[in-house]
Amino acid sequence: MQVMTDLFARIFGDGLSSLGLLVAGGLTMALIMALVMASCAIVFTWAERKVAGFIQSRYGPMRVGRWHGVLQPVADMVKILGKEDIVPRDADKPLFMLAPFVIFVGSLMAWAAIPFAPGFIAADLDLGLFYIFAVSSAATIGILMAGWASNNKWSLYGAARGAAQAVSYEIPLALACIPVVMITGSLNMNDIVIAQQGGIWRWHFLHDPFLFVAFLLYFVASIAEVNRGPFDLPETESELVAGYHTEYTGMRFAFFFLAEYANLFLVSCVATAVFLGGWQPLFGPVFLPGLVFVIKAVLLVLLQMWLRWTLPRLRVDQLMHVCWKVMVPLALVCVLGAGIWMLATGQAG
C-alpha cells in the first residue's frame, strides 16, 4: 500500500488528494492481490499435480504447453469457462448461487493483510492478524450455504463436517498465535515481521520451545482450516462423493477450487509472517524481501502437499478428538508457557 501510494504521489504530484491517493493505491493493490491469488491458484494446481505425480511415481500433466504441461491449468480454466452452470431443481437457488462468491471473496479479503515486503501490503491494519482470522471464517459460512442450499445429502454432510471442523480448528489456530502477539505486543502484520529482524535465531518459531510447539500447532490446524488431507473430510471423494460442492459445476465449482488453493497459500503466508520471519532472510540484511517471503510460503505449501499425498484420512470423531483433546489443551499450555518463559528470562522480545 505504502509503495503504491508513494508511486501515485510521485506520478500525480499534488494532483490527487490524500483520499484519492488512498483509493488509487488501494485499487491497484487489490488488483495486484487478485492477480497474485489467481496466478497462485494456477501455479499450485499445476504444482500439486506434479508433486503428486512425483510422489506417486508417475508424471502428472505432460502435454499442454510443451514443458511438463505448464499450461495445463490454463487449459483447465478455458474448459471450465465453457461448462454449463447447472443449478439443481430442488436447490435453494439464491443461496446456492451466492455460496461460491462468499468463499471466494472471503479468501481474497484475507489476502489484503499479508505483508509480502516492506510497505507492500494492501491493507496495513493495526488489527492485521485478527482481521485475517475474522475474514477467513467467511469460508465456513460459504461452505454451510453451499451444503444446505444444494439440498443434497452428501453436500449437507460435507457442509456439517466442514463447519464443525473449521470452527473447531480455528481455536488452536488462534491460540497458537497468541504467544507471538505476547512477544511483539502488536497485531499489525508488519510489526510482527519487523520484530523478527536479525537472522533465523530471531524468528518467532525459534524464540523458545513453547513457540516452536505453537508453530507446529498452527501448521496442523491450518491444514485442517483449509480442508486438505489428511483433514479433507468435508469433501472426501470416497465417502461423501464430493462433499459440499457435489452439485456444483463449471465456474461456480471453479470458485471453490480457486479458493482452496488461495487459502492454502494464505495460511502458509500467515505462518511465514507470524512464525518464520516474513521477508527476513536467514541471515544478513533484507534482500529481495518479496522473493524471500514467497519462497518460504511456497516451501510450506509444498510441505502441505507432501503431507496430503502421504497420510490417510482421519475419521470425523478422530478429527474432533485431535482438536479438542490434544490441540486445544496444548495451545493453552503454550500460551501460559510462553508467558512464564518471558517472565523467567525477563526479556520482552
Binding site: K153, L240, L311, P312, R315
Partner: protein
C-alpha cells in the same frame, strides 16, 4: 472320511436318508424337505459342518430321466467342515409350488443363497426371514433360470426399491430418541450409498439410515451388474462358457478360467498334462497377486491414502503388460485355459518377465507397508473396524482372506489341494481380530506367499510336453490333423458345433479364488451344453454380511469395510 460321514448319517437317520450318492468324489445325500432342518442341524452340531458354502437350485424338467418327475426342483445345500475337513451335498427335491424349509435360522449364509434360488427358480423357503428377489429386479416377472423361461425374453424395469421401509425409519427414530434421553431429538436420514458412488467400486447399493454420522440401519441391494451368466452358460457349449468366466471376477480372470476348467474336467474325469498343471498354478497365483493388489490399493484409496494406489497399481500394470498380455493377448478378459489344459503355451522369456515383476512387487509391498503398517491414522481407522469373530465369519459363509483374517487358516489349496498345490511349500497367513487391518495385512502377506509358490514352480523348471490333453472327447485336434485327416476334421467340427460331450452327472469343482472359495457346480445331461452351471462367488456371502457389519459404525468405517471385503460386482451379480 466323507464316506464314513454318509454312513454315520445313515446310521443316525436310517430311512430318512432317501438316497446317497457319490460322483467324482462329491458325496451327497437326498432327504425329504421335512427332514432337512433335522439333518442340517445334526450336521452342523455333531458333524462340525460349520460352513454352508452355497445353495444351488436345479430345474430338472428337461434333465433326461427326470422329465416326468413330479419333483421338478432340486435344491442342493453345499456343506463343509473345516475342523474335520469333510464336505457333503445335501439335496432336497420339491415339486412346483411346494415349500422347502429354510436353513436361514441355522446358517446366516443361507439367507441370500436361498433368496437367489427363490429368485431364479421360484422355490419358496418356509420360515425365511426376508424372501425377496435378489439378482433380478423386484418387479421382474417369472423365474429366469427355469428351463421354460426363454433366454431372449428381456424385461425393462427401472423403478428403485425402497430397502428400508417408512415404518422402520419411524421406529428407529423413536429408539434413537429414547436412547438419547434428555438431549434434543434429531431426524434420521436415509442415504443411498451406491449404485453410483465412488466407494462402491462397481454397482452395488446400500441404503443406510443415518443418525448424524452413525449408521442405524443398513440394507444392501445387488443385481445391478447381473448379466445372466448362468442362463447364458446353459445356452452355450462347455467350451464357449470360458470367456464368460473372465467376466465374473474380472480382476483375476485367470483364476476363474482355471477353476471352471477344473470343474468340467472333474465331470469328464480328465487328466491334464503336467506342463498345463504347473502353468495353471503360476497364472493362478499371479491372478491372486493382482486381485490382492487391486483390493488393497483401492481400500487404501478409500481410507484417503491415495499414493499407495500407484505403488501397487504399477506392479499390476507390469504384470499385465509383461506377463498376462503376452501370454493370452489381452489383459482383463484372458480366456486362457481350455478344458483339458491351456489355450496357449508360455512365451519366450516368461520366467524372466515374472521374476522381474516379482521383484517390483516386493519393493512395492515394502513401500506400502512402510507407509501404512505403523501409521497412527491408518491404525486408528482400521483396527477394530468391522471386526468379525471366527464363528460369525463361518456363519455368514466367509471364505478366503476375510475368513483367514479372523484366525481360521482355511485355504482350499491346503485343505483340498488341486493342481499339485500339495507339492509347494507355502504358509497360510492368518489374522487375529478379523478387522479391516487384518484383512489388509492378510492380503499383503498372501501376495508374498503367492510369489513364493511362483518362484518354486519356476525354480523346478516347467515340465516339457503338451499343454492340452490329447483326448478327442473334449480337446480340439491340432491344426495338422484338422487339415490332414478326415478324423481330425470331423472331430473339430463336432467339438465346435456341438460341444464336448460331457458325461451326464454333476460335480462341484472348486479352488481358492482371490477372494475365497470359488466353485462351479456343474450339471451335465450328457449333451454338449451345460445343463446347469452354478457359480459359488466368494464375495456373495461376504457381502451379505455387510449390512450387519456396518451397523453402529460411521460412513467412513462403512467405506473402509466395503473396500476390505473386496466386493467384485462382476462375480457378485454374475
Amino acid at each position: 472320511m466323507s464316506q464314513k460321514l454318509v454312513d454315520r448319517l445313515r446310521a443316525e437317520f436310517g430311512e430318512r436318508i432317501l438316497e446317497t450318492g457319490s460322483q467324482h468324489g462329491d458325496e451327497s445325500v437326498v432327504v425329504a424337505p421335512a427332514d432337512l432342518p433335522d439333518v442340517a442341524a445334526h450336521l452342523k452340531g455333531r458333524e462340525a459342518c460349520e460352513l454352508l458354502l452355497d445353495v444351488v437350485g436345479v430345474d430338472r424338467s428337461e434333465l433326461p430321466g427326470h422329465r416326468d418327475d413330479p419333483e421338478r426342483f432340486e435344491v442342493v445345500y453345499n456343506l463343509r467342515s473345516l475342523s474335520r475337513n469333510h464336505r457333503l451335498l445335501v439335496k432336497v427335491r420339491a415339486p412346483e409350488g411346494r415349500d422347502v424349509p429354510s436353513l436361514a435360522g441355522l446358517y446366516r449364509s443361507a439367507d441370500w443363497a436361498e433368496r437367489e434360488v427363490y429368485d431364479l427358480y421360484g422355490v419358496r423357503f418356509r420360515g425365511h426371514p426376508d424372501l425377496r428377489r435378489i439378482l433380478c429386479h423386484h418387479e421382474f416377472e417369472g423365474h429366469a433360470l427355469r428351463k421354460d423361461y426363454p433366454i431372449e425374453r428381456g424385461q425393462f424395469l427401472s423403478a428403485p426399491e425402497k430397502l428400508i421401509q417408512d415404518h422402520e425409519i419411524e421406529r428407529a427414530a423413536h429408539r434413537a430418541d429414547d436412547s438419547r434421553g434428555a438431549v434434543l431429538p434429531s431426524d434420521l436420514l436415509t442415504v443411498n450409498i451406491g449404485p453410483s458412488h465412488p466407494a462402491t467400486h462397481g454397482a452395488l447399493r446400500a441404503e443406510v439410515l443415518l443418525d448424524g454420522e452413525t449408521i442405524v440401519e443398513a440394507r444392501t441391494e445387488i443385481g445391478y451388474l447381473h448379466r445372466c451368466f448362468e442362463k447364458e452358460a446353459e445356452d452355450h457349449t462347455w467350451a464357449q462358457v470360458m470367456p464368460y468366466t473372465d467376466r465374473l471376477n474380472y480382476v483375476s480372470a485367470m483364476l476363474n478360467n482355471c477353476v471352471y476348467c477344473a470343474a468340467v474336467e472333474k465331470l469328464l474325469d480328465a487328466e491334464i498334462p503336467p506342463r498345463a498343471r504347473v502353468v495353471r498354478v503360476i497364472v493362478s497365483e499371479l491372478s491372486r497377486i493382482i486381485d490382492h493388489l487391486v483390493c488393497v490399493c483401492a481400500n487404501l484409496v478409500d481410507l484417503g491414502a491415495l499414493t499407495n494406489y500407484w505403488y501397487f497399481y504399477n506392479v499390476r500394470e507390469g504384470l499385465y503388460y509383461d506377463v498376462i498380455e503376452p501370454l493370452c493377448g489381452s489383459r482383463l478378459t484372458t480366456n486362457f485355459t481350455r478344458i483339458g489344459g491351456l489355450g496357449y503355451d508360455v512365451f519366450e522369456g516368461f520366467e524372466t518377465a515374472i521374476e522381474r515383476n516379482l521383484v517390483k512387487l516386493e519393493t512395492a509391498i515394502g513401500e506400502v507397508t512402510g507407509l501404512v503398517a505403523r501409521n497412527r491414522i491408518f491404525l486408528d481407522r482400521t483396527v477394530g473396524v468391522g471386526a468379525m469373530t471366527p464363528e460369525q465369519a463361518l456363519d455368514w459363509g466367509f471364505t478366503g482372506p476375510c475368513l483367514r483374517a479372523t484366525g481360521l487358516a482355511y485355504d482350499v489349496r491346503k485343505h483340498a489341494p488341486y493342481d499339485g498345490y500339495e507339492t509347494y511349500d507355502f504358509d497360510v497367513p492368518v489374522g487375529t481380530a478379523g478387522d479391516t487391518r487384518d484383512r489388509i495385512m492378510v492380503r499383503i502377506e498372501e501376495m508374498r506367499q503367492s510369489a513364493r509358490i511362483i518362484r518354486q514352480a519356476l525354480g523346478r523348471g516347467l515340465p516339457a510336453g503338451p499343454i492340452l490333453a490329447d483326448d478327442p472327447r473334449f480337446a480340439l485336434p491340432p491344426k495338422e490333423k484338422v487339415y490332414g485327416s478326415i478324423e481330425g476334421v470331423m472331430n473339430q467340427f463336432k467339438l465346435i458345433m456341438e460341444g464336448a460331450r460331457v458325461p451326464a452327472g454333476e460335480a462341484y469343482g472348486f479352488g481358492e479364488g482371490g477372494n475365497g472359495e470359488l466353485g462351479f457346480y456343474c450339471v451335465s445331461d450328457g449333451g454338449g451344453r451345460p445343463y446347469r452351471v452354478k457359480v459359488r462367488p466368494p464375495c456373495f456371502p461376504i457381502f451379505s454380511a455387510f449390512g450387519e457389519m456396518v451397523k453402529g459404525l460411521m460412513i467412513p468405517d462403512a467405506v473402509a469395510i466395503l473396500g476390505s471385503i473386496n466386493i467384485i460386482a462382476g462375480e457378485l451379480d454374475r
